[in-house]
């Protein structure tokens, strides 16, 4: 139980996917302008990460490893994620239209979010058990959401700041991200 807690918290804080592993930078910079879209994207990513882990883990250990096909990991995983995103989108549209309305726009963008592929590959690389993998996916997703939500607050303030012409737009956003990243460095050494 304790080790699961450590995995959850370290995926969220010390090894935050966005701020220390640099995965999912594109949505981090693109969707973090408003708080509600940041939250929506975060929930969608967490959901897809967990579902992707749920599917890829049995595929890796049940089909690929017994047949010595581990090198197909990348191809199979990305295909599973792409299909899965499509499936979730269709299902939400039919079954829970209200949720689809709020998450729908973010779903297609998730296929090319490297954090999702990253978490499935990391689970295999670290040889986590099924439970640990799911917790790692949950922590990764929550950490992603945390980074997005915090950063959307920073960006709102940034809009009113008087920034030199050259630094307007992406450069200032990146430098702000660097400062947020420094604040996350404070968590390092929390678990040894």
């Amino acid at each position: 139980m304790k080790s699961l807690m450590v995995i959850l918290l370290s995926a969220m804080l010390t090894d935050n996917f966005v701020l220390s592993k640099f995965m999912g930078i594109c949505p981090f910079l693109g969707v973090s302008k408003k708080l509600d879209s940041a939250t929506g994207m975060g929930i969608a990513v967490t959901f897809v990460m967990m579902c992707a882990t749920l599917v890829t883990y049995p595929i890796h250990h049940g089909i690929l490893v017994p047949n010595d096909l581990e090198y197909f990991d990348t191809v199979v995983f990305i295909l599973v994620i792409a299909l899965f995103v499509q499936l979730v989108e269709t299902m939400l549209k039919k079954c829970i239209p209200s949720l689809y309305k709020s998450l729908g726009v973010y779903l297609p963008l998730i296929t090319t979010n490297c954090a999702v592929l990253g978490v499935t590959v990391l689970n295999i690389d670290n040889s986590y058990s099924f439970g640990e993998s799911m917790i790692n996916a949950l922590g990764g997703g929550l950490g992603f959401m945390l980074a997005l939500v915090i950063f959307s607050g920073v960006r709102r303030k940034l809009e009113y700041a008087d920034i030199p012409e050259t630094f307007k737009g992406v450069p200032s956003t990146l430098i702000a991200a660097s400062i947020v990243s420094v604040s996350f460095m404070g968590f390092s050494g929390l678990f040894s």
Binding site: K33, S37, Y71, F72, I78, V105, L109, T112, V121
Partner: protein, 225 residues
């Protein structure tokens, strides 16, 4: 013929400066930030990406009339992932050091927006030779940007450069620069410098240009919200 050659040359060089994928079009940020703690890793990552980009661009442009429009995204993904697996094997066999230091980011070339973006925007609409030139140009531009990032971070953060020790910097290197925070900072400053040098009137915004879902998303314009 001369005109043809001219346009091929343009495809080749546009990626290096005018449409540099990382510094101007702002694609492929994840590897740019993640592996550039050393100049050497930057070059390795850049060349690996160039290889995948070249392979996938050629194959996709050859198959562009065969792949039905509806399944093109999964088809592209499979082609790209196959090339990533291939370069993984090659690096593991011939350059194990680089393979170890790139780690998971090698696998993540699969979801690099540059490759997907070029497949969608260029290779699926143009001939093989033009696509190959485009891939080489974009790949070199990416490699150059990564090398620049890696050099800055390695010199300031570790006081070394490509195995050489920099006399003044190595005494008290600013460790922050090889940490994640330094990556964001360095990239921000480099993009600002590029903005200044190219004297752009309007500040750069993250656009839907390279986004493979721009069509389905329907929210073309400044941001993908």
């Amino acid at each position: 013929m001369a005109e043809n050659k001219n346009s091929l040359g343009k495809e080749l060089t546009k990626g290096i400066l005018k449409e540099n994928p990382t510094l101007v079009m702002l694609l492929g940020m994840c590897p740019t930030l993640a592996v550039t703690t050393q100049a050497k890793n930057g070059i390795g990552m850049g060349l690996a990406t160039t290889f995948v980009l070249l392979g996938s661009n050629i194959v996709i442009s050859l198959l562009r009339k065969i792949i039905p429009d509806k399944v093109r995204i999964p088809a592209f993904i499979v082609i790209i992932a196959s090339f990533v697996t291939l370069i993984g094997f090659l690096l593991e066999g011939f350059v194990p050091d680089l393979y170890d230091s790139l780690g998971i980011y090698l696998t993540l070339i699969t979801v690099n927006c540059i490759i997907f973006g070029r497949a969608e925007m260029f290779a699926s609409k143009n001939g093989v030779v033009a696509s190959a030139c485009d891939a080489i140009g974009m790949g070199l531009g990416f490699t150059l940007a990564l090398f620049l990032m890696g050099s800055v971070r390695e010199i300031i953060g570790a006081g070394q450069w490509m195995g050489l020790t920099i006399p003044v910097m190595s005494k008290d290197p600013m460790l922050l620069f090889i940490m994640p925070a330094g990556g964001f900072f360095t990239l921000g400053v480099i993009i600002a410098a590029v903005n200044k040098l190219s004297k752009k009137k309007t500040p750069q915004e993250l656009g839907c240009k390279g986004c493979p879902h721009a069509e389905t998303c329907g929210k073309s314009g400044g941001d993908c919200q």
